[in-house]
Symmetry: C2
Subunit: 382 residues, 2 copies
């Protein structure tokens, strides 16, 4: 075990107060000594994923966020609309650590061989509370990165890569032959595009702006449909007919898109129908909503027959469902292709204190394509 | 084989013309001689189910329906709104027979022992085209009714009974322990209530009017929630917490009800939550939409976590999924309890010509609770 292990670690915390206020701050918390199967990792890089931002900001209205505290211990407060407080009840007055995943160097290890084997190595981690300088966790939450991989390169080795692979795996297990993906120009979308090109899987990419369509086409995407274009429904139906896709993963959630996808799937299927069925085609059409870029209501007109489903999709229950062996195969592929298929791009690196700057929050809270931040917890505060 | 078999049968037909008009009429069509495994049934009674009315009226606007033809051969025409014509494309200019199910007496039988065994018996039938005087069909579509059962008693032996039993069977197969049902005062809803009381299954009945709530309470229903009452969401959450229901069957489809059910399910589950999860509870909550009493858009706010699903549910694909043995068990129970658990009630009997009276259409097309018609194809035209 390393003797240089600090007694405390500086950690980013998110607190919803029962007074209707969100408070973000940095807290010194004790750093435990690792148990036998645990390691302590100096966190070098952690991505700020949309799923992290949900926990970080809760339902707060960031337009009126205020800064206080000191440069090295900034505090951000923002009001939470009263209508949203009910949804926050479960986390009320509980200071919560943030950050699903990250990567860093193992600086201390417990007595077990599995822990000792990681000493000094660069690992990717999953398990929450990654927006901290040092993280003590079980080796089960670590993935050893191949020699020559930096922490920044391995920071996003779990959430996006396993989500993208999980979509393909879900497609196979549920008997579909091609995929639809929305918000398709995202880091995750680009990753899914690379997987599908590599594996020869039909992928229909739906984007919301022309520039995003161009990003994907430049990356070799075959089917790109721009939801803001006037001929969107026709374009989408063509792409669905060409690929035979009957499964979609939707990151947007709100609005009419999920229903439009089902409608176009049914239209594509019915092109080859020979007899009328008042109940629509018997081919099952499925949309999984895995994100909430649009938090507004989901709305659809049921003009796509009776063989349809819509539902939530979440990575960790999916991994549990496929079991340790199934998940292990996906993880092995991620490790092997971390610099190619599963490479992530970030616009900017920020320190812990930097992440609490109002100007930075205004940028990275928007979830905009190509505006993804990488948190570097051990950088000197700026 | 009977020698008195007529050469033709009078049949109700629904035709969507490419001119944007629905035409309902009675047509004389040839009555085939039964093949070896077929029987000819004199149809004595056939219910007018919501699913039949969908095929009968298509997307026509019945408010401006017009009558023509003669008293014994009435013709009804009604305009179809242009926006709905696309959905009618599959049945354009095709004269379609109507009537999912019915019952009657076998008056001719093919050479096979299975067909011969039914000669002279009263049977229930499934297979479409039941709004006719005589129906030739395979014995596989027949169910022998117990001695002493009338055709009127056996007319609704398939769609509602098997749908109600299918809901319970779906609940068991998908690992839920109690049910929610909307439009619960319907014939189907009353049947489901009887099954659940008999089998000791928790059932949350959702109705839209106070009178409907009273009908169900008088029938012994424990949990009845009136969606038109101000405390509906609270009442529903209480009933869901009391029963543990995480599966709903929704006959309405449009509007906010399906989403409200998921929201209340999540609230009921979270009452016993001990830690906060930003993704909501991990208990899967499911709503199957099996009808479309409200044809408008379905709208929901995703405030119920990520473990949810919504989708279409249809009887025949379900029966295929559970296979002949599974379906056989359900059918045997229906036959045994046709006069009790699976008894249906009708407001009125109409002849084939009577069913095409504008005043009758105005009543039975409304799908109102307690306004279900029984078609009696061999009654003298009135």
């Amino acid at each position: 075990m390393s003797s240089t292990l600090p007694a405390t670690t500086l950690e980013l915390r998110s607190l919803v107060k029962n007074t209707g206020e969100l408070e973000l701050s940095l807290q010194e918390v004790p750093l435990p000594q690792p148990a036998a199967t645990e390691v302590v990792v100096r966190v070098e890089a952690a991505p700020m994923n949309p799923s992290d931002l949900g926990l970080l900001f809760g339902a707060a209205d960031l337009r009126t966020a205020k800064a206080s505290g000191s440069p090295s211990r900034p505090v951000v407060t923002a009001p939470i609309p009263e209508a949203m407080m009910k949804a926050m009840a479960g986390r009320m007055d509980e200071s919560m650590p943030v950050g699903n995943e990250g990567a860093g160097v193992v600086v201390a290890a417990g007595a077990s061989p599995a822990a000792q084997a990681l000493m000094g190595k660069t690992v990717s981690m999953i398990g929450g509370a990654m927006y901290t300088q040092y993280r003590c966790l079980d080796v089960a939450g670590c993935m050893l990165l191949p020699e020559g991989t930096t922490a920044a390169e391995g920071a996003s080795a779990f959430v996006n890569p396993l989500t993208a692979l999980g979509m393909v795996e879900t497609m196979r297990r549920e008997g579909h032959k091609a995929l639809v993906h929305t918000a398709a120009a995202s880091n995750l979308g680009q990753m899914l595009n690379r997987i599908c090109l590599q594996d020869g899987i039909g992928l229909v990419n739906i984007v919301r702006r022309q520039e995003q369509a161009e990003i994907l086409r430049a990356l070799g995407a075959t089917h790109v449909c721009d939801a803001s274009a006037p001929g969107f429904m026709q374009d989408l139906t063509e792409a669905l007919a060409a690929t035979g896709a009957t499964l979609a993963f939707d990151a947007i959630g709100g609005g009419k898109l999920a229903g439009q996808i089902l409608t176009c799937m049914e239209a594509a299927i019915n092109r080859s129908a020979t007899t009328y069925s008042r109940y629509g085609s018997s081919t099952h059409k499925q949309v999984y909503i895995y994100g909430g870029l649009d938090r507004g209501p989901t709305e659809f007109t049921r003009g796509f027959g009776m063989a349809w489903g819509m539902g939530g999709w979440l990575l960790f229950p999916f991994l549990q469902k496929i079991g340790a062996e199934g998940a292990g195969k996906l993880k092995a592929r991620v490790a092997a292709e971390i610099k190619t298929t599963f490479a992530s791009r970030y616009t900017k690196q920020v320190s812990l204190a930097g992440a609490l700057g109002l100007a930075e929050i205004a940028v990275y809270s928007k979830h905009a394509t190509g505006e993804k931040y990488l948190l570097v917890p051990n950088a000197s505060s700026s």
